[in-house]
Amino acid sequence: MNIDRRAFFKIAAAGAATALCPAPAAARPPKELPPEAVGILYDATLCIGCKACEVACKAENDMPMAHDTPLERAHGVAGTWDADNDLNSRTMTKIKVYTSGTAAVKDREEDGFSFIKRSCMHCVDPNCISACPVSALTKDPFTGVVRYNPDACIGCRYCQLACPFNIPKFEYDKAFPKIVKCQLCPDRLAAGGIPACCDACPTGASLFGRLPDLLTEAHRRLTFKPGEQQQYPVRRLDGDEQRKAEVTGYHPKVYGETESGGTQYLMMAGVPFDKLGLPPVGDTSRAQLSETIQHTLYQGMVAPTLLLGGLVFAVYRRTHAEQEDASEGEESTPEAREGRRDE
């Protein structure tokens, strides 16, 4: 053992202690809902699969429609159907359908079917925002909308890897690509309006509102008995448009209430959500875990700085000794001597 190494271990141990000390390294608390958080409540039992939301979304965001040439030829029409089969870089919202067996009855798990509208979940504690190295994805401090700034984005696609819902899409087919995701129609919101999909939804299946109110509404609906006639708000929760509809029964869960630390896009359906292709995310955001581990290691850059100090010191001692050794032939460490013997 020589002094270099001992010194190094001392410093390294100090660094490690700082890094692993529980006091400054407490787990990062979950993010809170912004004060004016808004969101969408999607109720699959109200959805009639008309895709008005998709059409409105594309119109609002100037997205091109996809063509299915064989289908269009078969029907002798062009530009009738939007043929995208999943969310992609020109589709920010998509109605998909779950079918089982004969698919006879809507919102039934066995021999039934159910629609589901997929789009950005606007997480309360978004992984994508934690992941993005250049803050291209940000959460609006008031509305909580997860927004995208192409001027910051470097296109690393870490947000795609991080998102538990596979929402951010990337324009792989373009030379100058962007990330594409729902931003809850920022221009409309700024003008006091509501997102295009909610505005277009004829049945109130996509309902815009303040998030706490939407949650209350969702829980109100969970108390409905199948067969009842109930009033459902249309377009926006605080508007005056209402619609009467028969309750077909709910799967007793509001998806998004707790998922991944909560989301601002809530879903209700008549069938379990795993059947509707929603992933098994836990109740805490992975961002929380990732940041806890990273910040534990890099708390105020104390540990790396201490480690660097130790390392530089050790290297300095070693190289200095070597240089002195080489120039003046003074005594040096046994290892250095041993090393020299080789030469």
């Binding site: 995208d84 009467k244 509809a245």
Partner: protein, 402 residues
């Protein structure tokens, strides 16, 4: 075809319908086309059009019809008579023997009542009872009287002797406009009235009732029902509400010409807006097509022709034929989409994405892996030689000092 000289002299009363075509200015070709069309409406295979044609032509076995008017507007009869589709009403009137109809009968008063009684006596258990209009049940049905008899009384007298009944129009089928809240007369349709008053056939079996709802009912559907009976000598298949499946087996929504717009999410938001003018889906304007079972999109409405049915001319379906919809839901109120048959156009939950292995990629990968293995084995050989040399050297070195 017995195209006799006699029939030419008496053109209106030939034994065969085909004999009368000239009188109505209809070519034989159009007549056959019509027969084919109605075969299709009936949901029968086209090969049966010959039988349908035969039934059309043979007017000898015309069933006797007693046509009663209760609480109604006579719109069904009117639309039957005013049909511009040539010859429908003519064909119909020629196919059946109207022994009693308050609208069509030339006779009036006691004479008419006499005709009714005579026909009843003559055709007991064989005639078809057609009812147009609802039956008032409140206060003993005093809100509607014909020859001082309430509809209930008339049904008690006549219905048990009928072979079958046809309830034409929404009023007769389920109450129609009179049954709308608050329903002051306690109006119900014929099936309900028979059930409540307990009227059956004389032998105690229930009287079969075919309902042909619609406001007015499509005359075409009445004709088709009659032809079905004449062709196959049995009643057509009925649904739970007594409607012939061939006419009422599909939602208007399912065969609507604007359905592709619904599937593509394109809706008229207001009357006269861009979407409305382009013929987009009228669902948001309150179209009841998604919950109304009728064949309007196929045969259109009122037999007027020229794509004239409500949705065709830009008005949302009113749901007139559907109990609980027409006259019950507000015009603007959105329909319950009853059978959202998931079309194949919906993507499934799990989308198969491209990105799998291609032959080229596999070949390139294989080549790289192969190259790496060849290199590693080559290196192994060289190292083996070096090893052999060094052990030889080591041995010799070990031996040297000795």
């Amino acid at each position: 075809m017995n195209r006799s000289a006699a029939s030419r002299r008496e053109p209106a009363l030939g034994p065969y319908l085909s004999d009368q075509l000239d009188v109505y200015g209809i070519s034989r070709r159009r007549f056959i086309e019509f027969a084919l069309g109605i075969t299709a409406t009936l949901g029968l295979p086209l090969g049966m059009s010959g039988q349908v044609l035969a039934a059309l032509e043979d007017t000898k076995a015309r069933p006797t019809v007693i046509w009663l008017h209760f609480q109604e507007c006579t719109g069904c009869t009117e639309s039957l008579l005013r049909a511009t589709h040539p010859t429908v009403e003519t064909l119909l009137l020629d196919l059946i023997s109207f022994d009693y109809s308050e609208t069509l009968l030339a006779a009036a008063g006691h004479q008419a009542e006499q005709a009714l009684h005579d026909s009843l006596d003559k055709n007991k258990g064989q005639f078809i009872l057609v009812v147009e209009g609802s039956v008032p049940l409140r206060d003993g049905g005093i809100y509607c009287k014909i020859a001082d008899k309430t509809p209930q009384q008339m049904l008690h007298e006549i219905a048990p002797h009928a072979a079958a009944a046809v309830a034409i129009g929404s009023c007769a089928s389920w109450g129609g406009v009179q049954s709308a809240a608050p329903n002051p007369t306690g109006a119900v349709g014929l099936p309900e009235a028979l059930r409540i008053t307990g009227i059956t056939k004389t032998d105690g079996t229930p009287l079969p009732v075919i309902t042909l709802p619609g406001c007015p009912a499509s005359p075409y559907n009445l004709l088709a029902t009659v032809l079905y009976y004449l062709t196959l000598k049995k009643l057509p298949e009925l649904d739970a509400k007594g409607r012939p499946r061939f006419a009422y087996g599909h939602l208007i929504h399912d065969h609507c010409e604007r359905r592709p717009h619904f599937d593509a999410g394109r809706f008229a938001e207001q009357f006269g807006d861009a979407g409305h003018r382009q013929g987009w889906c009228l669902y948001k304007l309150g179209c009841k097509g998604p919950e109304t079972w009728a064949n309007c999109p196929a045969i259109e409405f009122g037999d007027v022709g020229a794509n004239t049915w409500p949705v065709g001319i830009g008005h949302p379906c009113f749901g007139c034929a559907e109990q609980g919809v027409g006259f019950h839901k507000a015009l603007h109120e959105q329909a319950d989409v009853e059978s959202v048959t998931p079309p194949s156009l919906f993507p499934e939950i799990i989308t198969k994405h491209a990105g799998g292995v291609t032959v080229g990629a596999a070949a390139v990968t294989g080549a790289i892996a192969g190259g790496a293995v060849v290199y590693a084995l080559g290196a192994n050989e060289k190292l083996k030689q070096v090893e052999a040399e060094s052990t030889a050297v080591a041995k010799s070195e070990a031996e040297e000092p000795k």
